[in-house]
Amino acid sequence: MRKKNEKLKVYEFLYNRLPFSEDEAKEYQALRRSEKLEEAFERHLSRIKTANMEIHWHSEVYVDGRCEFIHVLLVTDYCYYIFILHDLAGSHYINAFNILCNDAHDAVLDLNRSEKLYQMFRAQLIDEGAFQRPIIVKYVMMNDEFRLKTRKSDLFLSKENLDYYLKAIEHSAVLKKKDAPLPSRLITET
């Protein structure tokens, strides 16, 4: 069962007990938004069987000196799934520099970071033996009002497709062939 982010717990504990700086107040609001998104994602996750997968919630990783928040990491026999949740609303498009922009042409999300994130996880999530489980990064748009114009991207997963995607993960979570070699224990580089 998902536990609340420890950092958010401490922030809630300190809220109205100690003054927050501007950065701390922003971080608190961001953590609260993330918590709501994770709750919503957990409702979708509860519709599938998760006995055959490991679920890791709210990890923070540093990519190029900036903190990236990974909301959910699903580990199955076949694959690693990294889900980053967003609640962006309105129309967006991907510009020529692979940056997600809104209708006001403001940059919202740098999609190039997903490649760096992938490389970082690839370097750390090493399976013993010849079979290396693939790593799939998905930005999940949890807001029904999110629209992507022009060029589509496999990086994005809409809320309406999330259930189907999770169902597909459930079905493929376990190696079916009895004589297929299991991926050996995971080695994580520290």
Partner: protein, 91 residues
């Protein structure tokens, strides 16, 4: 202590086990709320030692002897006479 859902400080105490938040009407267990509270307090002020008075002061209300003993037995470890250190839930 605060309600874990709405962060309100306003509780109605049913008995030594159950509390209800008067703002969002969530009912919660005293042990659960106390564990969460002292767990966070331990992050801010680690290795703090509490007396009976300190624990009651932090909880915000008095407990009867049975409830107090139960709480300290499950969540605290005695470090000296009438002094306790928070350890988390021990079932």
């Amino acid at each position: 202590m605060r309600c874990l859902k709405c962060l309100s400080l306003d509780f109605k105490i049913f008995n030594s086990n159950l509390l209800q938040c008067n703002t969002c009407m969530t009912i919660d267990n005293l042990l659960h709320l106390a564990e969460d509270y002292f767990h966070c307090l331990d992050k801010v002020m680690p290795e703090t030692v509490y007396s009976r008075r300190d624990i009651m002061h932090h909880l915000g209300f008095d407990l009867n002897n049975y409830a107090y003993t139960r709480l300290t037995g499950m969540l605290f470890q005695k470090v000296s006479a009438r002094r306790y250190e928070f350890t988390g839930r021990r079932d």
